[in-house]
Each structure stands twice: as C-alpha cells, then as structure tokens.
Symmetry: none
C-alpha cells in the first residue's frame, strides 16, 4: 500500500472535493449527484455545483436521460497528453525493441511514482515462455530491479522519506521486508550500476534493471530485462547487464540533446 501523502499545510477543501470527484469518475464510470454527495460527504447542492464545474471544463459529461455523470473527454485528453509528453517513453521504444532482439527477453521502461515504479512501456520476448508485458502496472520499488536502481540514485534522506517504516511490504516470499537490508541493496546497486530481482515481485521471474539518469545525473526512469528463471542464470543476467548498459548509455545521451 502506498504511503498516504502529507496533507498540504494550506488545504483547499473545494479543490480537494473536485479532485476526489475526478478520482471517483476514474473508477466509477457513472455517478449521480446524490452518490457524489455521499462519497464526498457534502450537501447535494455542493456536489451538483462541483459536477457542473467538471462538465464546464470537459472533465465530466452528463447523460441527459439518466442524469448520471461520466468521465469527460478532457480527462482522457489530459492523461494522453501527460503520457505523450513523457519524452523518455517515446525515445525508449526503439531501445526496448533492440534489447528484446539482442537478449531474447522482455524489456521494459519504468518511472518512479512515490515508492512504486510504473511500467510505462514494454516489448515482449518472442519466446513462447516469457515474461508478459506489464505496461500500466505499478509495483513496489523495493521489490523490483527497476525500482531499486531508481532508489539507489536518490539520497538516503529521500529514500527514508519514501520508506518511513522499518517494515517493508511483502510481495513474494523472496521479497526483502527490512528497510536496513534495502539500504544495503541500494548501496550494492549503486556500486554495480545495476540491480537484480530474483523472484521478489513474482516467483520464477528474474529481472535486471539499470537507471536512466537525467542531466543532473539523477535517474528518472529505468530499463529492465525480465525472463524466467530457467533462462536467467548467471550467463543470462550478465548478457542482460551488458545489453542494458549499452542501451542506457545511448538512450541517456539521446534524451538530453
């Protein structure tokens, strides 16, 4: 479970209501005034005005027959726009394809979101037995190789803020659940320049990740190669590390031209 973000010092209740409505529309494609009022714990007149604002700016649309509200085109547009502006995603695609061609395993690109990583793109291996695309999926950073290399590029203070408790979330039996052990793993990842995930996110899966730093040297994304245990022994891991290092170097250079 992701950490609860800190409540801003000067909280704007009406804006918060509106954003929570957007979050509701994301999960419930149809919502009525009374329902919105219940969920937000506001008066129906308040809910009605908030929904009218979402409709006005295109974030919601009202079905004239049922009077229910649905996500509007602008919400999708903003999301698509946010994704298309992710420079790293667009430029990384050819490198993911190349990594798959070179190593025969599934290649992915991840970005850090709090103490999780999100797979923003994936190209699958052609092998019948392979790691499937996880594009869109979010995983705890400490339980993934792509996450660990991103955490390794941060200061100790920053990592402590993301992981305020000693106990970490367990994903599989192989997941490390001690923060102090995580710090050691991050130190190792920093030294090696890559990290390996031996079944920490899923049994039978081995993944290797390297960071993609920005101009300041701080990683903003990571590249990973993942395969089944049978093909990802020491030789497979080494081959993945080589291919990832080369791809990351060239991609980093192309990202900041």
């Amino acid at each position: 479970m992701k950490n609860e973000p800190a409540v801003p010092p000067y909280h704007i209740a009406s804006v918060d209501h509106a954003l929570r409505l957007l979050l509701l529309l994301k999960t419930k494609p149809s919502i009525r005034v009374a329902e919105a009022a219940d969920e937000l714990d506001v008066a129906r007149s308040t809910a009605h005005r908030l929904l009218a604002m979402l409709v006005y700016r295109g974030f919601a649309a009202q079905n004239p027959t049922t009077r229910a509200y649905h996500p509007g085109p602008v919400l999708i547009e903003v999301g698509m726009g946010a994704l298309s502006k992710l420079d790293v995603r667009r430029k990384a695609r050819p490198y993911l394809e190349r990594l798959v061609a070179t190593t025969g395993e599934t290649a992915s690109l991840q970005i850090l979101e709090g103490n999780h990583v999100r797979f923003v793109d994936s190209v699958e291996s052609a092998n019948a037995v392979r790691v499937a695309s996880r594009a869109g999926v979010s995983l705890p950073a400490h339980a993934s190789s792509g996450g660990k290399v991103l955490l390794a590029g941060m200061s100790l203070e920053a990592v402590q803020r993301l992981y305020p408790h000693e106990k970490l979330e367990q994903v599989t039996e192989a997941t490390n659940t001690d923060r102090s052990t995580l710090f050691e793993e991050l130190a190792e990842a920093r030294a090696l320049g890559y990290s390996v995930n031996h079944g920490e996110s899923e049994p039978g899966l081995v993944a290797v990740g390297v960071p993609l730093p920005d101009r300041t040297g701080i990683p903003v994304a990571s590249l990973t190669i993942a395969g089944p245990t049978a093909r990802m022994g020491p030789e497979g891991v080494n081959r993945a590390v080589e291919a990832l290092r080369e791809a990351a170097k060239e991609l980093s250079e192309s990202l900041y031209r």
Copy 2:
C-alpha cells in the same frame, strides 16, 4: 466545432483554477509556480497552494531539483488506460470484420468500466435487419453478455465491490435484478466460457460474448456477436460461440506482442 460550454450558474473559482492547471499539464511537460500564477492570473501563493493540492491527490508531482511540477501518477494512469484501450481496439478491428463475415451478425468489442461495459468498437452486419453499432455506449455489465464474461473472470470479492447491493439495475423486463442470481450466471459463464444475453439489454436482441484474457488470464475486454431473436436461435448462438472462440484465441495471442 464544439460549442463553448455554458459557464455554470454557480461558478467555483478555486475549482476552476485547479481544473485549468490540469489543462496546462496536458500541453506542458512541466510547469513552475510563477508560470502557473501567470497563466491562471492568480497570486504565486495561490498557485503554490493549488499545485500542492494536485500533488496531494496524485495529479501532479514536483521535481525536487528543479522545483517544477509535472503530471503525476493519476494522469499517467489515465493516459495508460486510454492508450491500452486504443491498442486493443486497433488490433481487434480485423477480427470484428471477420466475425461479421463469418456469422452475418454485428460484432463488437467491449471493455469493463466499473460495473458497466463500454462498446469500444463495432462492425455492423450487412443484413437489413440487424443490431446497430453501439460504439461509445455504456451498458450495465450484468445486463450484457460481454459484461458477464468480464465479471466472470473476476474474484467474488471484486464483483461484490462493484455490486454492493442485492438489487440490480433493471434495463428491460428480461434483466436479472438479483445479485445472487448474477453470481449463478457468472458461475455458468465461467464453466461455459461464454455468456448469452436474451433481451436483457434490449427486447428482441440476443447477444453472445466471450472474454479476451491478458497474459495473466484475467479478461480485459470481450468480444460479442449480437443479432435479432429470429436469427439467434440455438443454431445461431452455437455458430456465434464457435466463431467467437476462434477469434478470441487468435486475438489474445496477438494482443500482447
């Protein structure tokens, strides 16, 4: 060209500022406090608090180095979801065309949105009497064959969350309105691998749906064939089931390359 929407009678300025900020994040990869203040024509302290609210609810994230704000995980998630839909739609189109050619009835692709299904794409039958395209339309999942096969692929807990009440929405006289009966129907759909809708969404319409699973086996979309009662007797239904099964198998394999 879309008309400018009417300004709501009770305009909420603070909510409007926040929504306009989201719109800015659609076109600019990142934005700074002063820039936001200029664009919204508010004080920098106001812009700062608005951005803090977007960060709080995940719509924006702040780069600790540059202090600029960029789209947050919620917007990335919305974008990934929309992109995923587009991808499935593009790949499914030839199969829908083939299904129409094979069965002579209208074929459609649906995705689950909460406890509704949305018709993402449709190819209409060439027969004069036919089920029209419902692309863009949203229907209760429990009242559609495409919806039922999607619900059948979910855990009981997940279905209970989507349907918290025993009473279900009635669409036609044929619609089942009991949740416990829905659970039985889902068990049947799970066993058969398909579901049939006899006039539950519209009188005179019969539809057959099969799931399109992703790599994890969980269905993310469904294919349906729909026709008028006169042509969709037991023989028509069986023909549809065969054609759908074949199409779904091939399409599933192609979706995740």
